[in-house]
C-alpha cells in the first residue's frame, strides 16, 4: 500500500513531500515524471512510457533511487499514526490570553472583536481579576515550568498600569511555585511611547505590533475613532519600537483582504521600513463585504504567494533578508507526532480570560456564551466542552486525514472553522488552500537555501 506523496514545482525546483516521514526531496525532471507513474505501473511499463525522452539506463538509475528511498521509509511511507491513542486528559494550561481591555482606540473594519468590545460593552480588566487569572494559570499548569501570558484586547496599552501590576504579581507567584512566566503583548501601537517601550523591552519576551503595510491599505481598514487613517500615528511609533527592540523577539503583523490581493507590496513596504520580522495574514470574514476573501480570489492569492516567495529569495540573495512568519518551517527538529495530531490546544492548553474573569477556549470565542468554559473563581466548569476540544484531531476529520499538509498544519484553527462553518471540526476550505500554499512556499525556500547556497549551484544533480 502506497501512501500519497505531494509534488510541486517552485523556484525552479521539483519538490516532493513525503507527508508521513516528513522527508523533503528535490528531484530532477526524470524522477518527477517517474513518480507520476510509479504506483500504478511496473518498471518495464514506465520504461516504455518514457523511453522517447530518456535512456533505459537513466530511467533505471532514477527508479532505483526511488526504490531505495521507499525502502528506507522516506517515500510513499505508510501512515503509522492513524491508530495512535493520544490521551490529552492530562494536559495542562500552558498559556493564557489576558483580555485586559475590551476597548480599543482604533475602529478597524475587519476586527473580529467588534472593534474591541467583543459585543459585551467597553471595559477594562481590574487588577483583582488579573491576579485571579495568574492564580488560575499557576494552579492549572501542573508540572510545567515555563508558562505564557499574552496581554491582549482590544488594545492592552489602554490598561497599561494594570498590565504592569499583573506582571509583577505574576513574577512573584511564579517564583513561589518554581515557574517562569513569559510575557507577551499584542498592540496596535497607538499608545506606544518611550516609557512603555522601555518597560515592554525589559519585561516582554515577544511583542506583536499591528500594521497592514502601505499607508493607503492600512488606512482603508485600520481607522481611528474619528474615521481618519491610523498609519501616520502608528507607523513611526512601530518603526521606532522595532529599532529599539533589536534582536528580541517581535513581529509586525498585518492583515490582507480582498482590497489588497497584491499584499506582497505590503510585506515589502514593511521590510523597507527596516522591519525584519513580518507577518501578513488573510482576513477571516464571513459576511459579504467588499473586503471579504472568497473562493474567486484564491487563484490570485496563490499567485501572490509565489510572487512573495520570489521577492523573499531575491532579498536573501541581495543580502538584505527579512523574515516572513508563514515562511518559517522547521524540517528537522519540529514537534513530535503527538503535537502534530492536534496543534491548537484551545480549551485545554490555552485559554482566554475576559475583563469579567470569564474563561473561553481562546480569544476568538470570547463573548460566545455557548463556548464559555468557566471563570477565574471556579475554574473550568464546562468539562464537556473542554473534552470536545481535547478529542479533536486530524484523524477525526475526513478532510484532514488525507491531506498532505496534515502534519504541518495539525488541524488548523478551531475558531476559524466555527466562524466560517459553524463547527470547530469542519475545516474552512479557503483557509486550508492558502495554508497549504504557504507550506509549499516555506518548504521551497528551505530547499532553495540548501540547494543553491554554495556557489549558486545545485549540491548534486551532477549528471
Amino acid at each position: 500500500m502506497y501512501s500519497k506523496i505531494h509534488k510541486y514545482k517552485q523556484l525552479g525546483m521539483n519538490i516532493v513531500v513525503d507527508p508521513v516521514s516528513g522527508s523533503i526531496h528535490v528531484v530532477d525532471d526524470l524522477t518527477y515524471e517517474i513518480l507520476d507513474l510509479y504506483t500504478e505501473n511496473d518498471f518495464n511499463t514506465i520504461v516504455s512510457l518514457l523511453k522517447n525522452k530518456y535512456s533505459e539506463d537513466e530511467i533505471k538509475d532514477a527508479y532505483d533511487e526511488i526504490e531505495s528511498l521507499r525502502n528506507k521509509g522516506l517515500l510513499y511511507s505508510e501512515d503509522v499514526y492513524k491508530d495512535l491513542d493520544i490521551n490529552r486528559e492530562n494536559s495542562v494550561i500552558k498559556a493564557i490570553c489576558l483580555n485586559v481591555a475590551h476597548d480599543c482606540n482604533l475602529r478597524c473594519s475587519y476586527c473580529f472583536a467588534s472593534t474591541g468590545d467583543f459585543k459585551g460593552g467597553r471595559k477594562l480588566m481590574s487588577y483583582e481579576v488579573g491576579k485571579k487569572a495568574i492564580d488560575f494559570l499557576i494552579k492549572n499548569s501542573g508540572n510545567r515550568k515555563v508558562v505564557e501570558v499574552d496581554f491582549f484586547g482590544g488594545e492592552p496599552l489602554m490598561n497599561f498600569e494594570v498590565v504592569k501590576k499583573i506582571v509583577e504579581y505574576g513574577r512573584d507567584e511564579a517564583e513561589k511555585h518554581g515557574k517562569t512566566i513569559k510575557y507577551t503583548i499584542t498592540t496596535n501601537g497607538v499608545l506606544l511611547d518611550d516609557e512603555k517601550s522601555t518597560y515592554i523591552n525589559e519585561n516582554f519576551s515577544n511583542v506583536v505590533l499591528s500594521l497592514d503595510g502601505r499607508k493607503e491599505i492600512n488606512d482603508g481598514m485600520r481607522k481611528r475613532i474619528d474615521g481618519s487613517g491610523s498609519y501616520d500615528v502608528i507607523a513611526p511609533k512601530i518603526k521606532n519600537f522595532v529599532f529599539k527592540r533589536g534582536n528580541k523577539e517581535h513581529y509586525v503583523r498585518g492583515t490582507f483582504t480582498a482590497k489588497n490581493l497584491d499584499f506582497t507590496d505590503d510585506v515589502l513596504h514593511l521590510a523597507d521600513m527596516g522591519i525584519r520580522e513580518i507577518s501578513v495574514e488573510p482576513v477571516v470574514e464571513k459576511e459579504d463585504t467588499d473586503y471579504t476573501l472568497k473562493q474567486e480570489h484564491l487563484e490570485r492569492i496563490l499567485k501572490e504567494y509565489d510572487r512573495l516567495t520570489e521577492e523573499y529569495i531575491k532579498r536573501i540573495d541581495e543580502g538584505r533578508p527579512f523574515s516572513f512568519y508563514h515562511f518559517k518551517i522547521s524540517l528537522d527538529n519540529g514537534p513530535c507526532i503527538k503535537k502534530r495530531l492536534q496543534g491548537c490546544g484551545a480549551g485545554f492548553e490555552y485559554a482566554a480570560i475576559t475583563p469579567d474573569g470569564e474563561i473561553y477556549p481562546c480569544h476568538q470565542f470570547v463573548g460566545n456564551e455557548l463556548y464559555k468554559l468557566g471563570n477565574v473563581d471556579s475554574g473550568i466548569e464546562n468539562k464537556l466542552l473542554q473534552e470536545k476540544f481535547m478529542e479533536s484531531d486530524i484523524y477525526k476529520r475526513e478532510e484532514c486525514s488525507q491531506c498532505w499538509a496534515r502534519f504541518y498544519c495539525s488541524g488548523g484553527c478551531f475558531a476559524n472553522n466555527y466562524n466560517m462553518n459553524g463547527d470547530i471540526n469542519k475545516p474552512y476550505e479557503l483557509s486550508c488552500e492558502m495554508q497549504k500554499k504557504r507550506f509549499e512556499c516555506a518548504i521551497a525556500i528551505k530547499a532553495y537555501e540548501m540547494m543553491f547556497k554554495k556557489n549558486n549551484k545545485p549540491q548534486q544533480f551532477d549528471n
Binding site: H25, V92, T255, V284, H363
Partner: protein, 45 residues
C-alpha cells in the same frame, strides 16, 4: 544519489519514540496571534 537530493535528515516517524512531553509552545493559528503553526515550532525536548 544522482537524481534525488533529500534536504532533511530526520524522519517524523522517529518522534514516535518521544514521550510527547508537552513542553512545546502553545500554538495559535488565528489571525491576531500571528498564526503560530506547528510546522514553525521546534521540539523543546
Amino acid at each position: 544519489m544522482r537524481h534525488i537530493v533529500t534536504i532533511n535528515r530526520t524522519s517524523l516517524k522517529d518522534s514516535l519514540k518521544k514521550p510527547g512531553c508537552g513542553e512545546c509552545q502553545a500554538s495559535c493559528q488565528s489571525a491576531c496571534k500571528t498564526s503560530c503553526t506547528v510546522a514553525n515550532q521546534e521540539c523543546q525536548n
